[in-house]
């Protein structure tokens, strides 16, 4: 009794100390950020305003949060760390692992009709386009980058460059030569792969941080070319009026030979949206199928071996130059496909869409999902992109925070939260284990602690 009493008191003291410390740091950081505000008065002069109440509230929230965390969560974490580890994951988790992927695929397939049935042609457009298509684009980009970062272990921060190459190739070829989407899709993929190899060559000798910096710069170079090569790319103004894909030759318009008329439906833009949804779904499935297939081929094993130990690869006669270049090329190809789809869907592209932020989001998706895991990457894309889209829907928050509150402004905050949570809860991503590509008797999942992340 005596002992337990003293531990409680010690914890309380520590919690108060930590809360005071956190409050102090918060005060130091927030004093200039929140405490002072500059506003323009009616004479167009900047005047300094102080917001002590808001500052006090924020500091109190942070100190209180830290107090509760130290009092409740820290002991719970300590208990959990000391508790004996269960030898086997609970049955529900194994079942979840087995059924999650088929269920998710099934849901992805029935999603548009479901949305159509539940919210009608007007409402469904938002759900299919903003959520479905948008998320699937990032799933595909995540899966493409997963080959480079997750399998080959090469940290690429300029992935959006290949997305841009794909988008501009489709836009320019379709507008200039009037070629069809299906013909341009492989061309865009090839061009992106070409640029992937071109980037690959100079960075072959670089590893880790250095590789990340050079790829980041490459992404910026491509964006700056798009901005400054005005005769071809039209600079900041971008390219508009990009031909939309047709349903195997049947355009989606209100004409007599349009899609709706041919199939005896009432005209509605939702059919194009649903077609685009299935198009990107098919492209994403192709990406996944190829990745799964390649992992079981020598090239896929060489990628993973490269991530595990490059020197050992070379000692086994593997040409690491070619192996890295194929990884870059393969990843870039999928970005090129996604890019040409993006251009066809938007009908308008500009360099604005291919900023470093996009690369960061895709890398975040791959890292949060667990490098190398298709299911994990897809889940992370749903959480990250779905989460930001949900932000647009939270209009009721305006009733609480006032009418000039814009939830979408807090997108980055959500990213930060997701990152911090994953770092605490699953430092190696949602699914960090890996499935072997070949086995004698039984395929045993490789635990996360053995799988390396690659150093470049």
């Amino acid at each position: 009794m005596e002992a337990s009493h003293s531990t409680v008191r010690v914890d309380l003291g520590r919690a108060i100390r930590e809360a005071l410390f956190a409050g102090l740091i918060a005060f130091g950081i927030l004093l200039p950020l929140i405490g002072f505000n500059t506003v323009q008065n009616i004479h167009n002069e900047l005047v300094l305003e102080t917001r002590w109440a808001l500052l006090a509230a924020m500091v109190a929230i942070i100190a209180g949060g830290r107090f509760l965390y130290a009092l409740l969560v820290t002991p719970w974490l300590a208990r959990r760390a000391h508790a004996p580890r269960r030898a086997h994951a609970p049955a529900w988790r194994a079942a979840l692992g087995r059924w999650f992927a088929p269920f998710a695929i099934g849901f992805a397939i029935v999603y548009p009709p479901l949305a159509l049935a539940l919210s009608g042609p007007q409402g469904a457009a938002k759900w299919v386009d903003n959520f479905g298509v948008q998320i699937l684009i990032y799933v595909m980009l995540g899966w493409g980058l997963n080959i480079v970062v997750g399998l080959a272990g090469l940290l690429d921060l300029g992935y959006v460059a290949f997305y841009a190459v794909g988008a501009y190739s489709y836009a320019l070829f379709a507008k200039t030569f009037g070629l069809s989407f299906w013909l341009l899709l492989p061309i865009a993929g090839c061009l992106a792969a070409f640029w992937g190899i071109l980037l690959g060559f100079p960075v072959l000798r670089l590893r880790g941080d250095y590789l990340a910096i050079v790829t980041l710069a490459f992404g910026e170079i491509i964006r700056l070319i798009l901005i400054n090569w005005v005769p071809v790319t039209n600079g900041y103004a971008g390219i508009s009026g990009i031909p939309r894909p047709s349903f195997f030759g049947i355009p989606f318009n209100a004409d007599d030979n349009g899609f709706a008329a041919r199939f005896g439906l009432e005209f509605s833009p939702i059919y194009r949206t649903i077609f685009l949804y299935y198009l990107i779904l098919a492209l994403a499935f192709v990406t996944a199928a190829i990745t799964v297939r390649l992992r079981r081929l020598p090239i896929g094993r060489a990628w993973e071996a490269l991530r595990e130990d490059e020197i050992a690869c070379r000692s086994l006669g593997i040409n690491t130059t070619n192996t890295k270049l194929t990884a870059f090329a393969m990843g870039a190809t999928f970005a090129g496909f996604a890019g040409s789809f993006f251009a066809a869907r938007q009908g308008f592209i500009s360099p604005e869409s291919f900023t470093f932020m996009e690369s960061a989001v895709i890398v975040a998706i791959v890292v949060l999902g667990g490098m190398g895991s298709l299911v994990g990457v897809a889940a992370a894309a749903v959480i990250m992109i779905g989460g930001t889209e949900i932000m647009r829907e939270l209009d009721f928050l305006k009733a609480i925070f006032g009418s000039d509150f814009d939830p979408t402004q807090y997108r980055l905050l959500l990213f930060g939260f997701a990152m911090v949570l994953i770092m605490i809860w699953k430092p190696r991503g949602l699914i960090a284990t890996r499935e072997p590509s070949a086995f004698f008797k039984e395929s045993k999942t490789v635990a996360a602690e053995f799988v390396r992340e690659g150093r470049g």
Binding site: R293, L294, P298, R301, A305, E308, C313, P436
Partner: protein, 320 residues
Amino acid sequence: MSYDPPASGTRPDPASPAVATPMLQVEHLSMRFGGLVAVNDLSFTAQHRDITALIGPNGAGKTTVFNCITGFYKPSEGRIALQYGDAGVWEELGALTERGTRSTRRGDGALFLLERMPDYQVTQQARVARTFQNIRLFAGMTVLENMLVAQHNALMRASGWTVLGALGLPSYRRAERAAIDKARYWLDKTGLVGRADDPAGELPYGDQRRLEIARAMCTEPVLLCLDEPAAGLNPHESAELGDYLNAIRDEQSTAILLIEHDMTVVMEISDHIVVLDHGQKIADGTPDEIRNDQKVIAAYLGVEEDVADEVLAELPGAPP
């Protein structure tokens, strides 16, 4: 279907007892890192089907020699020639050196100048495999996958550089089954077949060492370079390792080049020993000759620095 290892004798054996030609000939090898001379004018040869040991105190330059032979370093000076198949190809050595190319063939004989080849080609074409002082396994891949990665080049050809394999052609599936059989053969020999589906990083230390050797053997080398294979093994495991290396040499007719500090293992299994000190060769001979060599005793086998001077002074021809 099972893997038949290339039996001894099926592989062309050029080293007829009458004219012993070397398989590896290192001449005037020097390696400098800035001002540091790691290896200085080293020459030695290794014979077909021999176990050649490279010994010397720490920092003597043994691993540097390995890195030069396996292409990880480009030597500052010197020539490293390796031959397999018809020994007549040695006659091409001068012409090959003049020509500036990497390799030449005559009949079924092949001759390589290893100092001109990048690391992966040394394994891929000259068929030299190596292990590392600090074990380099693919820890996150299973034991079997490690063995399959080692057969990358053969499988790559069989998969038609991925294209045919991606289409799932039967010829590739056959090749993959053969590769798995080969992996099973070597895992069987190493006693690791029961752990084939476990991640390599999960194996105990001794098993990891043996797996690294088995993995190197999957590349079908003519020369196997082992960098301290007995490091960290207990006496029982070291003895087993000796038997294992003897078996590789006898059954596969693979020559072995060995860096090792464990003198029991070295004296037991080596046919030929080269002793290095401060980047220079101080002795070269059979285990018996080395055991009785005064210079080796002084430099390497545990004589104190001040005593070493006395020992050296007693040697005939030593400077006063």
